[in-house]
C-alpha cells in the first residue's frame, strides 16, 4: 500500500512539475495576466511537499524491510543495522534519483518562498526552468527507474547492501554529493532564468550566490569524506586514485569553485556577466556528466553502481535537451546582455579571472583524461589513464593557481599597482623562496612536484592569513574570515599531499605471531591473530602493538572480513592517528609457513589533507552564513528606510 502511495505521489508531483513550467511559460509570455505567474510559487511548494512525502514512503519501506518491493530486496536485508536500512534507501540508483529530485523540488520551494532579490519575471523564469529540470528526472524515474516496483512472489529476505558501503561515513556520502549537485542545478535554473529575461546583473548574482556556496560546501565535504573513505576502506593506503568516479565529483567542484569566484565579481563589481552565466551552465553540466559516467558504466571504476546502458542513454538525452538548450539560449541571448564593468590588468578582478582560467584548464585536463579511454577505444585501443598523466598535468597548473590564490585577496578591486601588490606579498614570497632552498637542502631526493608543492603551501599559507594583517579581527566580516579559512585550508591540504607523497614509508612483510617489524619511526609487534564474529560478518583480526622509540604502545586491530550476504571479502585497515601523521596497517593472507602478510605504512602529515578539505568547507560555510546574515540585515534596514 505504502509503495503504491509513494508511486502515486511521484506521478502527482510530476504532474505539478508540468503545471509549474507551463504556468511559468504562460506567465512570461502573457505579461498582462499576472495571476498566471503568481500561481507558479504555490505550485512549486506543493510539488516539493508531494515528492518529499513520496521519498519518506521509500524510507519507510526500507525501515520495515518490505520484501515485496524490488528495490528493498535488492538493497537491504532484515538483519542489517537500522542506520544502513535507512541509508539503503539512497544507496542505489533508483532511490538516489528519487532523493535527487526531492531535494531539487525542496530547493525550488525554498526559492519560491524566500527569494526577494531578483526581478519578478526572472524569478518566474527560474522556477519554470526548475520545473522543466525536475520533469526530466520524473520521466527518468517513472519510465526507467521506478523505485516502488513490486516483486511477486516476495522473497524471504533481501540481498543485502554492498558491504563496502556498510559504513557510517558512506551512508551520508552520496546524499552530500547530491545536495551539491542539486545546488548546482539551482544555479543553472537561475542562469537560464536570467538569460531568458536578460537580467544578468548583481541582483541575479546575489540571488544565485548562496546556492553556489552551499553546493560548493557540500561538494567539498563529499569529496573530502569520499577520499578518506577510499583511504581507509579500500586498504591501498592512497587517498586519491584519479578513478573516473572521483573525477566525476572533482569536475563539478572545479567548475563550482570557478563559479563561486566569478559570481562574487559579478555581485560586487558587475563584471564577468557572460562568463558567470557560462560557468553556471558548465558546473551543472559537469554534475550531470558525473552522474552519467557513474551510472552508464562506460568507464570501469571501483564504484560499480548498477550499470545499465538504457539509463545511460536516458541521462544522455536529458543532457542533450537541458544543456544543449541552455547553451543555445546562451549563444542567442548573451550577445544582447550588456557588457559589464571594466577593470585594469592589475586588480582583484584580474586575479580572479586568472583563477578562473587556471581552474578551467584543470577541469579540461581532468575531463580529457577521464574521457580519453572512451575515445581511444573508438580507435581500437585499450588505454587506462592514471597518475602519470593527471599528477603533472593537473598538479603544475594547480600550483600556479594556488600562488594566484595567495595574491588575489591582497589586491584592490578595479585597479592596483604592481609594486604595491608585491610589497604586500613580500613576506609570503620570501617564505616561499626560502622554503624552496631549505627543502632542497634538507631533502635532496624529494620529487619535483612535492618539493614545489610544499614550498607553495608555505607561501599560500602565510599569504592567505595576510588579509587579516592589521585588521580588527572582531570587526572583520564573517565572509572575509570564510575566505581566509578556506584559502588556508587549501594550503594545509597541499602541505599534507606534498609531505605524504614525498616521505611516506611502506613495508610489506611476513611475520609470525610475536615477531616485530619496523616501519618509519615505529616498531610494530604482531601479538596475535584470532577469529571474531560481527553482526553480519565474520573476520580474522590481528592485534598489533606499535611503539615509537620508548613511548607508550598503541594497539591496532586490522581485520580481513567476510560478509555472508552477498559473499564478499573486505579488508578493514587499522589506523592510528598521531600528531604528525598516521600509521596504517592491513592484514593479508597467511602463508603456508604460518606467517601472516602485513602491509604497513607510515604516512606523515596525511591527516592534513582532510583537515584542509574540512577547512575549505568550513570557510565556505562561514562565507555563506556571513553573506546571508548581511543581506538579511541589509534588507531589514531597507525596509526600515522605506
Amino acid at each position: 500500500m505504502i509503495a503504491e502511495l509513494g508511486l502515486g505521489l511521484l506521478w502527482l508531483a510530476a504532474g505539478l512539475a508540468i503545471i509549474q513550467s507551463g504556468l511559468g511559460m504562460l506567465g512570461l509570455w502573457q505579461t498582462n495576466r499576472p495571476e498566471l505567474g503568481n500561481a507558479v510559487r504555490p505550485v512549486a511548494v506543493a510539488q516539493a511537499l508531494l515528492i518529499g512525502i513520496s521519498f519518506a514512503c521509500l524510507i519507510y519501506l526500507f525501515i520495515v524491510s518490505d520484501m515485496s518491493v524490488k528495490l528493498v530486496v535488492a538493497n537491504s536485508h532484515s538483519d542489517k543495522p537500522m542506520l544502513y536500512k535507512v541509508s539503503g534507501a539512497w544507496g542505489n540508483h533508483e532511490g538516489s534519483m528519487l532523493l535527487w529530485v526531492a531535494v531539487l523540488a525542496i530547493a525550488g520551494a525554498g526559492i519560491a518562498l524566500a527569494e526577494r532579490r531578483v526581478r519578478r519575471d526572472t524569478l518566474i523564469a527560474t522556477l519554470m526552468a526548475q520545473g522543466l529540470l525536475a520533469l526530466g528526472f520524473y520521466a527518468f524515474l517513472l519510465f526507467s527507474s521506478n523505485p516502488f516496483e513490486r516483486l511477486n512472489p516476495a522473497p524471504q529476505d533481501g540481498q543485502g547492501l554492498n558491504p563496502l558501503l556498510q559504513d557510517p561515513g558512506l551512508a551520508f556520502h552520496p546524499p552530500t554529493l547530491y545536495f551539491g549537485y542539486v545546488g548546482m542545478s539551482v544555479a543553472f535554473s537561475y542562469a537560464v532564468g536570467a538569460l531568458i529575461t536578460r537580467d544578468v546583473g548583481p541582483a541575479f548574482a546575489r540571488a544565485m550566490r548562496p546556492w553556489v556556496l552551499g553546493a560548493w560546501v557540500m561538494l567539498t565535504l563529499g569529496i573530502t569524506a569520499g577520499s578518506y573513505w577510499a583511504y581507509y576502506e579500500l586498504g591501498w593506503g592512497g587517498w586519491w586514485f584519479w578513478d573516473p568516479v572521483e573525477n566525476a565529483s572533482l569536475m563539478p567542484w572545479l567548475a563550482a569553485t570557478a563559479l563561486l569566484h566569478s559570481v562574487t565579481v559579478l555581485a560586487t563589481r558587475d563584471a564577468l556577466r557572460a562568463w558567470t552565466v557560462m560557468l553556471a551552465v558548465v558546473a551543472f553540466s559537469m554534475s550531470i556528466v558525473g552522474t552519467f559516467l557513474v551510472r552508464s558504466g562506460i568507464l570501469t571504476s571501483v564504484h560499480a553502481f548498477a550499470v545499465d546502458p538504457q539509463r545511460g542513454s536516458f541521462i544522455l538525452a536529458l543532457m542533450l535537451i537541458y544543456i544543449g538548450g541552455a547553451l543555445a539560449l546562451f549563444a542567442l541571448r548573451v550577445g544582447t546582455v550588456r557588457e559589464g564593468a571594466v577593470f585594469e590588468p592589475v586588480s582583484r578582478e584580474a586575479a580572479l579571472v586568472l583563477n578562473n582560467l587556471f581552474l578551467t584548464v584543470i577541469l579540461g585536463v581532468v575531463l580529457i583524461g577521464t574521457l580519453y579511454p572512451i575515445v581511444a577505444q573508438g580507435f581500437g585501443q585499450q588505454v587506462s589513464i592514471g597518475p602519470p598523466y593527471f599528477n603533472p598535468a593537473a598538479g603544475s597548473v594547480a600550483l600556479m593557481l594556488i600562488v594566484v590564490m595567495a595574491a588575489g585577496p591582497l589586491m584592490r578591486w578595479r585597479s592596483d599597482s604592481a609594486p604595491k601588490v608585491l610589497r604586500r606579498l613580500a613576506i609570503p614570497l620570501a617564505i616561499g623562496i626560502v622554503s624552496l632552498l631549505v627543502v632542497r637542502l634538507l631533502a635532496p631526493d624529494m620529487g619535483v612536484l612535492p618539493w614545489l608543492g610544499l614550498s607553495t603551501a608555505l607561501l599560500a599559507g602565510t599569504g592567505s592569513i595576510a588579509p587579516l594583517w592589521k585588521r580588527n579581527l572582531l570587526r572583520t566580516p564573517l565572509f572575509t574570515w570564510g575566505m581566509v579559512v578556506a584559502h588556508l585550508g587549501v594550503a594545509v591540504a597541499l602541505a599534507g599531499m606534498a609531505v605524504d607523497s614525498a616521505f611516506f614509508k611502506e613495508r610489506l612483510v611476513a611475520v609470525s605471531e610475536g615477531q616485530t617489524t619496523e616501519v618509519g619511526p615505529f616498531s610494530v609487534k604482531l601479538v596475535s591473530v584470532e577469529p571474531i564474529i560481527g553482526p553480519n560478518w565474520t573476520a580474522i583480526e590481528a592485534t598489533m602493538e606499535a611503539r615509537r622509540g620508548d613511548g607508550q604502545p598503541t594497539t591496532l586491530h586490522p581485520q580481513a572480513r567476510n560478509y555472508s550476504t552477498p559473499p564478499t571479502d573486505t579488508s578493514e585497515a587499522a589506523i592510528t592517528t598521531h600528531i604528525d601523521g598516521q600509521l596504517y596497517a592491513v592484514l593479508g593472507k597467511q602463508g603456508q609457513d604460518g606467517r601472516w602478510q602485513l602491509r604497513l605504512w607510515w604516512k606523515p602529515l596525511v591527516t592534513f589533507i582532510w583537515l584542509g578539505g574540512f577547512m575549505i568547507a568550513l570557510g565556505g560555510l562561514l562565507a555563506l552564513v556571513g553573506r546571508v546574515w548581511r543581506e538579511r540585515r541589509g534588507m531589514k534596514s531597507e525596509e526600515i528606510a522605506a
Binding site: 557560462m278 551552465v281 558548465v282 553540466s285 556528466v289 552519467f292 559516467l293 552508464s296 558504466g297 562506460i298 568507464l299 570501469t300 546502458p309 545511460g312 542513454s313 544522455l316 543532457m319 542533450l320 544543456i323 544543449g324 547553451l327 543555445a328 546562451f330 549563444a331 548573451v334 550577445g335 575531463l367 574521457l371 579511454p373 572512451i374 575515445v375 577505444q377 573508438g378 585499450q382 593472507k589 603456508q592
Partner: protein, 175 residues
C-alpha cells in the same frame, strides 16, 4: 566573429555528447586477453595439489597433442557450474590438466569428490604466481595448448554448454 564564438560552447558540448554516446553504444571490453597467446607456456614446476593426482610442470603440457589447461579453485563458485562441462569434454577424449589456485589439499579433494574429477594432473599454485605468469586474471579460466606447448586459445570465465563447440574447435585447430 563574436557571433560564431558564442556557438563554440554548444559545439564543444556536442563533441562531448558524441564521445559519451559512442561510449554507450560500444561498451568497454572488460576482459583483457592474455598477451601470451601464440607463445610458449612459461616455465613452471608445481607440486601436486592432492596426493591422488600427479604434479604439473610446464614440460608436461608439450605432450605432442593438444590439451586443455584449466585454472580452478575449490573456493570458486563458477568452477562448480563448470565441473560437469569439463566432465563432458573429458568424455569426448580431451586431456585436461589443472592448476588449483590458493587452495588446500583437503579442500581440493572434497571438491573433486563432490563435483567430479576430469583432471589428468593438478598442480598447486598457492601464491597465484604461475596463474599470473600465464596472463590469467581469475578463476575459472582455461587455455588450449598445442602439442609443442604453445598457448593457442584462452577462455575467460567458466566454460558453458554453448562454449563447448568453440573449445573443441580450438583443440582441433591446435592439432
Amino acid at each position: 566573429m563574436r557571433k560564431v564564438l558564442l556557438w563554440l560552447p554548444l559545439a564543444l558540448f556536442g563533441l562531448l555528447l558524441g564521445i559519451m554516446g559512442h561510449g554507450i553504444l560500444n561498451p568497454e571490453q572488460t576482459t583483457v586477453p592474455s598477451r601470451l597467446i601464440g607463445t610458449k607456456v612459461p616455465q613452471f614446476d608445481l607440486p601436486a595439489a592432492v596426493p591422488s593426482h600427479a604434479a604439473l610442470k610446464s614440460s608436461d603440457l608439450a605432450s605432442g597433442k593438444p590439451i586443455l589447461l584449466n585454472i580452478f579453485a575449490s573456493w570458486c563458485l563458477p568452477c562448480i557450474t563448470e565441473a560437469p562441462i569439463l566432465e563432458e569434454l573429458k568424455a569426448k577424449g580431451v586431456t585436461i590438466h589443472a592448476i588449483a589456485i590458493r587452495d588446500k589439499p583437503e579442500d581440493v579433494a572434497r571438491f573433486l569428490s563432490d563435483h567430479g574429477d576430469p583432471y589428468a594432473s593438478i598442480g598447486s599454485d598457492v601464491s597465484s604466481r604461475v596463474q599470473i605468469s600465464l596472463g590469467s586474471s581469475g578463476v575459472p579460466e582455461s587455455f588450449v595448448i598445442d602439442g609443442k606447448g604453445i598457448i593457442r586459445h584462452q577462455h575467460i570465465g567458466d566454460i558453458k554448454v554453448e562454449d563447448v563447440p568453440k573449445i573443441l574447435k580450438a583443440l582441433e585447430e591446435a592439432r
